[in-house]
C-alpha cells in the first residue's frame, strides 16, 4: 500500500511533520510525499532515511515528489535516533571495488595537433558511458575543468552522466584560477584532499 501525502504549500518544518505523522501512524511500506521546494525534498528525504526508508525524488520548479520505500530489514516503528550522516558517502563505501576513476587534466587528448586533440577528448568523454556501471567517478583538474563549464561541447553528456549517478568532481582551485567558478555547470566543486582520496579509493584510474 502506498501512502500519498500532499505537503505542498506547507512551510518548513510542516512537510517533515506530516510525513512523520504518516510513518508513526500507518508504518507504510511505500510513501509518496509531494512538496513545493527543494529544501523540503532534502528535509523529507533525510527524515524518511532516519526511519529506514530508501528515497528517490523527482520534479522541478515548485512541484516535487519524494518516493520512499521501506528498506529490506527495516521497520517503520524503528525510532529514528539519528546519527549524523555516514562519514563516507554511499558511493565511497565497499561497492566501489570494481570502480573506474577517469582523471581528466586537460581539455584535449594527446600531443601533436591541438585541433585533433580537442575532437578526440570530446569523443572520449562521449564514449565513456560505454563502460557502464564500471565507471565510478570523473575528476576534472587544470585545463580539464573547462569541459564542465557553459559552452563545453560535452556539457550535456556530462550532465547526463551525472543524472545516471556517475560522480563528477571538479577542482575548485582550478576553476578559481581560470575565473570560471560561476560558469561551472556540472559536478561537485572539490579540493585536493577529495581528489587524492578518490584516487586512493578507485580500483582503476584512467588518465586520457
Amino acid at each position: 500500500m502506498t501512502t500519498d501525502i500532499n505537503a505542498r504549500g506547507l512551510a518548513c518544518p510542516q512537510p517533515v511533520l506530516t510525513a512523520k505523522q504518516a510513518v508513526d501512524q500507518d508504518h507504510p511500506a511505500r510513501l509518496m510525499v509531494r512538496v513545493d521546494n527543494e529544501a523540503a525534498v532534502e528535509n523529507v528525504s533525510r527524515f524518511l532515511g532516519t526511519r529506514g526508508y530508501e528515497t528517490t525524488s523527482s520534479g522541478q520548479g515548485d512541484d516535487f515528489t519524494v518516493t520512499a520505500v521501506l528498506a529490506q530489514g527495516s521497520t517503520a516503528e524503528k525510532n529514528g535516533k539519528t546519527e549524523p550522516a555516514p562519514a563516507v558517502s554511499g558511493a565511497d563505501s565497499q561497492d566501489i571495488q570494481q570502480k573506474i576513476l577517469v582523471f581528466i587534466a586537460t581539455d584535449r587528448m594527446g600531443f601533436g595537433d591541438d585541433e585533433l586533440g580537442k575532437k578526440l577528448m570530446i569523443s572520449f568523454v562521449k564514449t565513456l558511458g560505454e563502460m557502464g556501471d564500471d565507471l565510478w567517478r570523473l575528476v576534472f583538474v587544470n585545463n580539464g575543468v573547462k569541459l564542465t563549464i557553459t559552452g563545453s561541447p560535452v556539457l550535456e553528456t556530462l550532465q547526463e552522466y551525472e543524472r545516471q549517478g556517475f560522480s563528477i568532481l571538479v577542482c575548485g582551485t582550478c576553476l578559481s584560477h581560470f575565473d570560471l567558478l560561476e560558469q561551472k555547470q556540472v559536478g561537485d566543486t572539490t579540493n585536493m584532499l577529495d581528489i587524492v582520496t578518490s584516487l586512493q579509493l578507485a580500483q582503476k584510474v584512467i588518465q586520457p
Binding site: C12, V88, L181
Partner: protein, 320 residues
C-alpha cells in the same frame, strides 16, 4: 539598491559599497560613528525573550565593527487591538534589559500599527577610525575564530515542530540573547584582521563575504566548529530551514567540500543564525592568547574553526 544613486561624502569610512555589518562615519580624527539598524518578526514565543534577542542582535553589528554601542532607538510595528499591549511592554522591557547590560542608552523610537508584530533597534556606536574592523582584511595564515556555537535556525525549526525539549529551548534562547560585548572587548586587544557577526547567511555565507573578490581563500575545519547540542540530530531528521538551503545554493560555487563532511554538517555550516557569534581572523601566533582571553571573559564556546590560505582565492575548502 542597484542602479540608485547613493549620496556620500569624504567622511564615509564604511558605506554601502561593501557587505559590511554597519556604516561608519568619521566625525573627528579620533572618532567615528557606527550606525546600524535591524528588526524582525518574533522568533521565540516569550515577548521578553524576543526583546532581549532583538536587542542583542541589533547591538551585535556595532561589536562586529570593533566598536562600542552608545545610543539606540526602538522600532516597533504592533497589531493594536489584536494583541494585548502587555506583550509590547514585555518586548520593550526585554530590549531595555539588554541595552542596559551593554551600556547603551535609549534615546527614543518610533512605532506604527501593523498586522504583524515586529521589533528591533537602530544603534549608534563609537570607534576610533584606525580601529575599524571591516569584513574584509583576512590575511593568509590567519586563524579563523568563531565565538558562539552554530545551529539556531535548525533549533528554532525543531522548536516550531514541537521536537525541542524545554531545556534546549532555554539554552538557545540564552544563546541568542547573549551579547557579543565580551568577545568584542577581548578582540580589540589583539591584532585581529577582519570581523563580522554570523547571522542570516550562516557561517559559510558570511565567510564568503569576507573573502569574495579577495586574493585569499579559507579552509574550514568542520569538525572543530562549535555546534549547539542537539543540532546534528535535528538537522539529520530534516529540521533544516529553507534559508540554509538558499544560503547553500547562493554560495555553492565558492565551496569545495571533502566527501568525509556529511551533508548534515554542511547544512549546519549554512544554517541562518539569529544573533550569532563574532567570526574573526587573527594571526596564528596570537590566536591561542586570544582564545585564552575569550575563555577568561566567559566566551566558553569560542574555537579556531579554520585557516586563511593563499591558495584557491575566493574559495572555501571544507575539511573534516
Amino acid at each position: 539598491m542597484k542602479g540608485l544613486s547613493i549620496p556620500t561624502d569624504k567622511h564615509v569610512l564604511v558605506g554601502m559599497g561593501t557587505a559590511d555589518d554597519a556604516g561608519v562615519y568619521q566625525v573627528s580624527p579620533d572618532l567615528a560613528l557606527i550606525q546600524t539598524v535591524d528588526f524582525f518578526t518574533p522568533i521565540v514565543d516569550d515577548p521578553y525573550d524576543f526583546g532581549r534577542i532583538a536587542a542583542a542582535n541589533a547591538l551585535s553589528d556595532v561589536y562586529a565593527m570593533g566598536g562600542v554601542p552608545k545610543t539606540a532607538m526602538n522600532l516597533v510595528a504592533f497589531p493594536l487591538g489584536k494583541m494585548d499591549p502587555k506583550v509590547l511592554r514585555d518586548i520593550l522591557a526585554g530590549g531595555l534589559h539588554v541595552l542596559e547590560k551593554s551600556g547603551t542608552v535609549l534615546l527614543g523610537g518610533h512605532s506604527i500599527e501593523d498586522d504583524e508584530l515586529k521589533y528591533g533597534l537602530s544603534v549608534t556606536g563609537f570607534v576610533h577610525p584606525d580601529k575599524i574592523l571591516a569584513n574584509q582584511g583576512l590575511r593568509p595564515g590567519d586563524d579563523l575564530i568563531l565565538t558562539k556555537p552554530l545551529g539556531t535556525g535548525i533549533m528554532n525549526t525543531a522548536v516550531k515542530a514541537g521536537l525541542a525539549s524545554s531545556e534546549q529551548i532555554r539554552d538557545i534562547t540564552e544563546l541568542m540573547a547573549a551579547l557579543n560585548r565580551e568577545a568584542a572587548a577581548v578582540m580589540t586587544g589583539f591584532p585581529v584582521t577582519a570581523c563580522t557577526d554570523v547571522t542570516g547567511f550562516g557561517l559559510l555565507g558570511h565567510l564568503a563575504e569576507m573573502i569574495a573578490g579577495t586574493r585569499v581563500g579559507v579552509t574550514v575545519f568542520s569538525d572543530k566548529v562549535p555546534l549547539i547540542s542537539g543540532v546534528l540530530e535535528f538537522a539529520g531528521m530534516g529540521m533544516v530551514p529553507g534559508g540554509a538551503f538558499r544560503n547553500r545554493k547562493f554560495r555553492e560555487n565558492m565551496v569545495s567540500t571533502a566527501s568525509r563532511v556529511s551533508p548534515v554538517l554542511r547544512d549546519i555550516l549554512f544554517d541562518p543564525q539569529t544573533s550569532g557569534g563574532l567570526l574573526m581572523g587573527c594571526p596564528q601566533d596570537h590566536s591561542q592568547a586570544l582564545l585564552d582571553a575569550l575563555y577568561r571573559q566567559g566566551v566558553a564556546d569560542a574555537a579556531v574553526i579554520g585557516r586563511v590560505t593563499d591558495t584557491g582565492p575566493g574559495m572555501m575548502a571544507i575539511e573534516y
